[in-house]
């Protein structure tokens, strides 16, 4: 399950950043914390909030349900990356379904929306910006994580996903949300797919790009609407699908291979984690969690209104 690998990668990245920042600040690594765009002494960090079960969590569970035993000999290595302005790591995490919530430090801290998209945060003075932590020649931060399981069907119940080759992927998304209109722009998506051995790299890449485009559609606007048991938006006039103008401005793909691996299918491997990644990025940008897909402007504004009402004394 790549979600675990993504969580591990995010934790590794976070630890690396904290260590580097602590050294620069002359502080103990345990006394610093990540805030939007920076690492600060822990006492100055913002309080963490957040609902337990947002769309990202739901989508993550869906990805998790789709996840299953590895073929045990094939790697489950994942990778995720993001710049210091990245929105959020997309994660088909298994944690939410088991524990009901993603640990806050993974959900909120590891990657953050840019300063213009998040809630107003006063930069603490005892802090160092993430861009100062990254070497000048580094275009991106990246980290790796790994997760392995026994694979196969559950020996007690005989249950599991009947997939001859388990398909693994991880997606990270960077978004900009307009707090006035609720409109979400997906600026950058990175998809990593475990592909075993890639036979046709161009087609594999193309298919993974298509996964992300379709996933962005279901994240942002695709929705079959029922009224009194009838589908009321049965044609493309009322059910928009992504056009060329809706594709993320930047899309990067990593096809993960392993020497000697089998040839894996790549049908829609990167599709399930894409709405989760977009949802997490939106949640991180707004500091709140819209609880329904697609993340239409109406729903984002409504979620913001609910959060504002709850926050009122």
């Amino acid at each position: 399950m790549m979600g675990n690998a993504v969580l591990a990668a995010a934790a590794n990245l976070r630890a690396d950043l904290l260590t580097r920042a602590a050294a620069r600040l002359g502080a103990d690594p345990s006394s610093v914390t990540l805030v939007p765009g920076a690492v600060a002494l822990a006492s100055r960090g913002p309080s963490e909030g957040g609902a337990a079960d947002g769309p990202a969590g739901r989508a993550a569970r869906r990805a998790d349900e789709a996840a299953g035993p590895d073929d045990s000999t094939e790697g489950a290595e994942g990778e995720t990356g993001g710049s210091d302005e990245a929105g959020a790591g997309g994660l088909p995490v298994s944690e939410p379904s088991r524990r009901g919530r993603v640990p806050e430090d993974h959900r909120r801290d590891d990657t953050r929306a840019g300063p213009t998209t998040g809630p107003e945060q006063q930069a603490p003075t005892d802090s160092i910006s993430l861009s100062d932590l990254v070497p000048d020649d580094a275009e991106e931060l990246s980290a790796e994580g790994e997760f392995r399981n026994a694979g196969g069907l559950d020996p007690d119940t005989g249950q599991g996903v009947a997939s001859s080759q388990w398909n693994q992927s991880a997606v990270a998304a960077q978004v900009v949300v307009d707090p006035q209109t609720g409109k979400v722009e997906v600026e950058h998506v990175h998809a990593a797919v475990y592909a075993g051995r890639v036979v046709n790299p161009a087609a594999a890449r193309l298919q993974t790009e298509g996964n992300v485009v379709m996933g962005v559609g279901s994240a942002l606007f695709e929705e079959v609407v029922f009224e009194e048991g009838q589908v009321v938006n049965a044609n493309l006039s009322d059910y928009p699908v992504p056009s060329l103008a809706d594709a993320p401005a930047r899309l990067t793909v990593t096809l993960l291979e392993r020497p000697g691996a089998q040839v894996h299918g790549l049908g829609e491997t990167a599709l399930p984690p894409t709405p989760a990644a977009v949802g997490n990025a939106v949640a991180a940008a707004l500091g709140l969690e819209p609880n329904r897909l697609p993340l239409t402007p109406e729903r984002i504004l409504a979620a913001a209104e609910v959060a504002a009402t709850r926050g009122a004394p």
């Binding site: 485009v213 056009s243 103008a245």
Partner: protein
């Protein structure tokens, strides 16, 4: 009831009997044997039925065939295998299932006649009406650029 219309179809004169309420898409596909002219949404949203009418891209599912009388109609069947746009789409692998491809090739030809070296915004403006459910948009964009380069190198095509 049918009535005869005359088209210049892929460069050749063609007379065909059409129903008064028949769409150009239906006539091209079913009466003229041009299977690239596909109907998907039937309401002018998806772009799969795009053909060139007097060199301008139109949704043939929305155009009544009698209105095309006396005009020039181009479909992908009229392009040779060495057509620069076709070559570019193949070279860039700009399709997966290829259902949208013939229409995208025609829309790209129209785009490149208006803007031989199009910007990203011009590509978006001209091709956002052609939906690709496989999401091959990045490769399609690359194919448009490639086609632009190929057309620039060719002097035999105006």
């Amino acid at each position: 009831v049918t009535l005869p219309i005359r088209l210049r179809l892929n460069g050749q004169p063609r007379e065909v009997e059409v129903g008064p309420t028949e769409t150009l898409q239906s006539v091209l596909r079913w009466r003229c044997g041009l299977p690239s002219v596909r109907q998907s949404c039937g309401i002018g949203v998806c772009g799969a039925c795009t053909v060139l009418l007097d060199s301008a891209p139109v949704s043939s599912c929305l155009l009544l065939a009698p209105l095309a009388d006396g005009r020039s109609v181009e479909t992908v069947e009229g392009l040779g295998p060495d057509d620069p746009v076709v070559e570019a789409f193949v070279a860039q692998h700009a399709f997966q299932c290829s259902y949208c491809t013939p229409a995208l090739v025609m829309a790209t030809r129209a785009l490149l006649s208006a803007h031989p070296d199009p910007t990203d915004e011009q590509i978006e403006a001209h091709l956002s009406g052609n939906l690709c459910r496989c999401g091959s948009y990045y490769a399609i964009r690359a194919a448009v650029r490639d086609a632009s380069d190929r057309l620039g190198r060719r002097t035999d095509l105006a």
